[in-house]
Symmetry: C2
């Protein structure tokens, strides 16, 4: 692991690091915010998964999360959204290939050699974090925006016991019913739709639910509502009697102005679960 | 004036607008955050002037100011840092020409036709703001970062009675003694150093001071300390018996991680003056 940069921020350190990823077979870059409390011992971890076209950097610079995490004493992890490098397959579309890993393990050509973002977030990066930083990996939570909200919800429900709480900002909530999902799931994991359910938050919610609290925020003026399909997830949460809150936020769109507005609530929500 | 974008943010609106600038003889873009309180009547205004290479956008997306401004009920104005457009003179250096207006009115070729950022911030943009938004222009304050901190301090001291309070993050504090200043002042307003003092915060502080409270934050690990020369300003503030606070912040650098960390303090500082 190599240090790219470290900047003091709200009494802690916002770092950027690279490492050779086993899961993705390439070098990967991630951001990690360590709050001031990490100087005294291991702190809990909140994962933030980003959306289409993003890197590790977007939320680090625009989500305004560090101040609240410093107050709560929680570390923030900002992974990249896909494998990177010249020998990694790509597509001209902004929503397939680089910047659009969709948090799945690809089985299809040309994606399979590198596009294993599920394993990267589930196993590969956690091992790097545990080995190098004062983090309490027994206390983890996860959130994300858009495609990252999809990743947060599917990883949380797909890895029971791993995360104490899950939240999402405008998640891709029902990718098996959306062009933000059907195209990519077919490309990455193949045409057999029976395999897609493990990567659909609404289906996972209907089937398994989540063993902990759930918080979802969605703007009513989001320009991508037809692709996100929030109503399928809110229906599934209520039908499953899931411990959770689904908020439609009047007038907000899909931008980081929306994310930063509700970030304080999400950090407080996860802090309650992480320090329970 | 034309609207480029408006995003709901912390209950208010983060807008971006363009207008034909008289001072700069070109179209100019600015950001304006209106807090939720603006729906009920005019709100006070805090100007944020940005640094070298920045546009109106940097602080809007990275400084994390809107949440605190929404809580306080203060509007935020984010001007650009120079004139723009194909017919505007430029230089290969990052610290001269576009993105580096230094908040002066240029008298020298090739800069004089467009580089009038002093008049732009002092007269031109205020008129646009007053005509188009619910702002109480009798209650203004000003802050900025690096070159923008220089602009905030020099405009506040150069326009007595205009601003109720002034603050700065890592300002270029003594440009007449620095390569961040001597080069640009010579280029923009000519070789006669006697004219430079009106654009040097330390000299203005020593001579006039500011009729209101001053707050300056400076990181001890700033990579540009030799160019910023904070010690000249801190000396001048103490010697002038200026109502003010100068803080050296241990371990912080020149980045927006530093700015965002102390933004809550600066907004609270200005709110106290604006609502006194």
């Amino acid at each position: 692991m190599q240090t790219v940069s470290e900047n003091k921020c709200f009494g802690g350190v916002q770092g950027v690091y690279t490492h050779a990823s086993t899961a993705c077979s390439c070098d990967m870059t991630f951001g990690l915010f360590l709050p001031p409390q990490a100087a005294d011992g291991p702190v809990p971890v909140l994962w933030y998964l980003s959306g289409l076209t993003c890197t590790h950097e977007n939320a680090m610079t625009k989500a305004g999360a560090q101040g609240w995490a410093a107050e709560a004493g929680i570390a923030l992890v900002f992974p990249d959204t896909s494998p990177r490098g010249d020998d990694v397959a790509d597509d001209e579309a902004y929503d397939l290939g680089k910047g659009a890993g969709f948090y799945v393990n690809a089985t299809e050509a040309p994606w399979a050699p590198h596009f294993n973002m599920w394993d990267y977030v589930a196993d590969d990066l956690p091992a790097v974090l545990a080995a190098n930083f004062p983090l309490d990996m027994s206390r983890q939570a996860i959130t994300g925006h858009s495609m990252g909200g999809h990743g947060a919800l599917t990883l949380a429900m797909g890895l029971p016991g791993r995360f104490r709480s899950v939240s999402a900002f405008a998640p891709i909530a029902n990718p098996t019913g959306s062009d933000w999902g059907r195209v990519q799931l077919a490309a990455y994991i193949g045409d057999d739709e029976r395999t897609w359910g493990a990567h659909d938050a609404s289906k996972l919610m209907a089937q398994h639910g989540f063993d902990g609290p759930v918080l979802v925020d969605q703007g009513t003026d989001d320009q991508f509502l037809n692709l996100l399909r929030p109503e399928t997830l809110s229906q599934a949460m209520a039908a499953k009697r899931q411990d959770g809150t689904f908020r439609m936020q009047k007038g907000y769109d899909h931008s980081y102005y929306f994310v930063s507005t509700f970030m304080p609530d999400h950090i407080a929500f996860h802090a309650e679960a992480l320090f329970a």
